[in-house]
């Protein structure tokens, strides 16, 4: 039993790492039907910028808003350079290539600035584990869970309660109609990209003390998060959390009960099943596209 609790806890912690990255995919999809495939790289940039700031003597907690600001700027740049031209010419696939390309550029820049070795991110919390229901949890893992859920709640609240958030939702529901109602949809889309990279950068500094920090840290995490976004549904914040936890727990339990050689398999099988049975994701609403 104790083993299972430990596996579930570790799985949840791992799943929340995936979820908070996947959340960024959902944000841009919600407004523009596009995804930032450079999400993993936005995460990596956030973590590395955070590492540099901490290295210059900035306090960890003080550094977080600065990194968020950096992330927002980076996201806006991605949208302006990579996505907007594609949306304007109504290209179905242009943005895929351009966000991937920008991601690679960011990775190369990071390699030149920070090198390609994995670096240690100093933990702001004690590194000794806490006992909880007979299992060990790192304080940092709790922070990731709290931070991820907090961030998602904040964004959801913003979308539902504030007038600006309503503009975002309106843009998602019908871009043309929203435009006619006087909403600057272009700005809303830029904003959603800024918000998405902000969450990625935030996720980066949140998880960096647990994973290692380096120019290549985003690749695998970005991909896993993408699977989470598909499983949970690209239109549901709740789905992202559930999807993340499912994938995380599936990985740790398969690793233990089946074989560590196959630990990535069940998550991906689940992905295939979801795509076959419920393509919009476990919690996604099936969108009816009028042609």
């Amino acid at each position: 039993m104790q083993i299972l609790t430990q596996l579930v806890f570790s799985g949840i912690a791992l799943g929340m790492i995936y979820a908070v990255i996947a959340f960024g995919y959902q944000l841009t999809f919600a407004t523009s039907d596009t995804l930032n495939f450079g999400q993993g790289d936005a995460l990596m940039l956030g973590a590395l910028v955070g590492l540099s700031l901490v290295g210059w003597g900035v306090n960890y907690w003080l550094m977080i808003p600065l990194v968020c600001l950096f992330g927002a700027l980076q996201g806006a740049v991605v949208e302006r350079i990579g996505v907007r031209p594609a949306i304007q010419i109504k290209s179905e696939f242009g943005w895929i290539m351009s966000t991937i390309a920008l991601g690679i550029i960011f990775k190369n820049v990071a390699e030149n600035v920070w090198g390609r070795d994995d670096l240690k991110f100093p933990s702001p919390l004690p590194e000794a584990p806490l006992k909880f229901l007979g299992a060990n949890v790192l304080p940092m893992e709790l922070l990731v869970i709290v931070g991820a859920v907090g961030l998602m709640l904040a964004v959801e609240l913003f979308n539902r309660r504030s007038i600006y958030g309503k503009a975002v939702v309106a843009t998602f529901n019908d871009r043309e109609a929203a435009k006619l109602m006087g909403i600057n949809t272009g700005l809303v889309i830029t904003f959603s990209y800024a918000l998405s990279s902000l969450t990625a950068a935030f996720a980066g500094v949140l998880i960096a003390p647990l994973t290692l920090t380096g120019a290549t840290m985003g690749a695998v995490l970005g991909l896993k998060a993408f699977a989470v976004a598909i499983i949970g549904g690209l239109t549901s914040g709740m789905g992202i959390i559930v999807g993340g936890v499912i994938l995380g727990v599936a990985e740790t339990t398969t690793g233990f009960y089946l074989s560590t050689g196959y630990k990535d398999v069940p998550g991906l099988v689940l992905l295939l099943i979801v795509l076959a049975v419920k393509p919009a994701g476990l919690f996604g609403k099936t969108a009816i596209k009028k042609v």
Binding site: E111, R116, N136, T216, G255, F256, T260
Partner: protein, 415 residues
């Protein structure tokens, strides 16, 4: 005709007079350097390259080889097999190197070497440890692949000897990464354990870039492992150490030499202390040669905290160039088959950092390092030090190759 002969004498005189200056202008001898200078194994690749550079610089200062300077052609293989293959083809066909040193990753070595073998150009593997590396072409009459690193058939039994015999652990778990390196190493560990009549209580796998090692470690813990034997590279090894801290389960880590990598030591922090691994070289000035090597390395490359990122790679990189230079000198040629023949029958001993190489290779034995040469290192205070006081005290007596030394696994030739 007469004018020609008349001109000849003064010309020869001129040539002799400016021989020293001429040597620099002479056609350089190109030596390829292939290794990962970026990515997860870069601490090994860069240290190796720096060791190679240091040796080449010293040789050139002393007048070069055969009066010709050594020119290094360095290429980053990014630890990727396909990059290694491209680089091999470029170095052979375009750069026309006389020989190549390098290869950190066993997979890259195995993928790239066949091109050198076909082109009859010698390769000196100075870091890659996979047992198969020098035996890939056993079935062919001539083998152009040499090595001056402690191969896995030495390392695996050493690890087992340390864990089982010296420290008396009865139950051990094996954690290895899913690359060629990790899986070939795991096989060697299992073989070495079997020779002691022991079976690992858990054999687990992990991927490069895995951030969570909980399942692997829990399995080892549940099986009652008293020690964890590892085969992987720095960043993931650090995650194992961090995972142990998290689970509050701390057993000794004994593993392949990669536990000495800077990115393991730095990322694991206190969790990595006490990890032990076989080392051909530990950054301690135990002989005059080692002292001068360490001083010039630190002076030239100025690594962080005066700690060479991967001392073993640096030392072996350095020695690999001296071995090749000695062979080229003896062969008096940069012709591949002649260099190879000279390597297999080196007349003069080569004074290296790791050891003094007296007849390091023969026609059938292309391994310069035997099981009696490496010692055990231990991570202590964020550096690698001698694990045993006795080894440290006797370190000034250079351990030389002993082809009859017992303990290595035998490598089955590749069919």
């Amino acid at each position: 005709m007469t004018t020609f002969t008349a001109l000849r004498a003064p010309l020869t005189a001129l040539a002799l007079a400016s021989a020293a200056a001429f040597a620099l202008a002479a056609d350089p001898i190109k030596i390829g350097v292939s290794g990962p200078f970026t990515g997860g194994s870069s601490s090994m690749g860069v240290s190796m390259r720096d060791g190679v550079r240091l040796a080449a610089e010293e040789i050139n200062k002393a007048g070069g080889v055969l009066g010709r300077p050594i020119q290094l052609v360095e290429r980053d293989d990014e630890a990727k097999n396909e990059r290694g293959v491209q680089i091999a083809q470029e170095l052979i066909n375009k750069e026309k190197v006389a020989a190549t040193v390098g290869f950190i990753n066993t997979g890259v070595a195995l993928a790239s070497q066949r091109f050198y073998q076909d082109a009859k150009i010698p390769v000196m593997n100075n870091v890659a440890t996979g047992s198969l590396v020098t035996h890939q072409f056993d079935s062919q009459p001539e083998n152009y692949i040499f090595r001056n690193a402690a191969h896995d058939s030495i390392q695996a039994p050493m690890i087992v000897e340390e864990a089982i015999t010296r420290r008396g652990f009865k139950k051990v778990a094996i954690l290895a990464d899913s690359t060629n390196y990790g899986q070939l190493g795991r096989e060697d560990l299992e073989k070495a354990l079997a020779l002691k009549g022991i079976k690992a209580v858990a054999v687990e796998k992990f991927n490069i870039k895995d951030v969570d090692m909980t399942p692997q470690l829990l399995k080892a813990k549940e099986a009652g492992a008293e020690a964890v034997l590892t085969y992987g590279i720095g960043p993931e090894l650090a995650q194992i150490a961090n995972g142990m801290t998290k689970l509050g389960w701390k057993v000794p880590m004994v593993g392949s030499w990669t536990l000495s990598m800077a990115n393991f030591i730095d990322n694991a922090g206190p969790g990595g202390e006490g990890a032990r691994m076989p080392q051909t070289f530990i950054q301690e000035p135990t002989t005059p040669k080692r002292q001068s090597f360490i001083i010039s390395y630190l002076k030239t490359f100025n690594p962080k905290n005066a700690r060479i990122d991967s001392p073993v790679s640096a030392a072996q990189g350095y020695d690999s160039v001296y071995l090749l230079a000695a062979a080229i000198k003896q062969a008096a040629s940069t012709d591949g088959p002649k260099i190879k023949a000279a390597l297999e029958d080196l007349k003069a001993p080569v004074d290296g950092v790791v050891t003094t190489y007296t007849k390091p290779f023969s026609k059938t034995d292309h391994e310069a390092i035997t099981v009696n040469i490496p010692v055990f290192g231990e991570v202590k205070g964020q550096r690698v030090v001698y694990a045993y006081e006795g080894d440290f005290k006797k370190a000034s007596e250079v351990r030389v190759k002993d082809a009859n030394a017992k303990g290595a696994l035998t490598v089955a030739p590749k069919k």
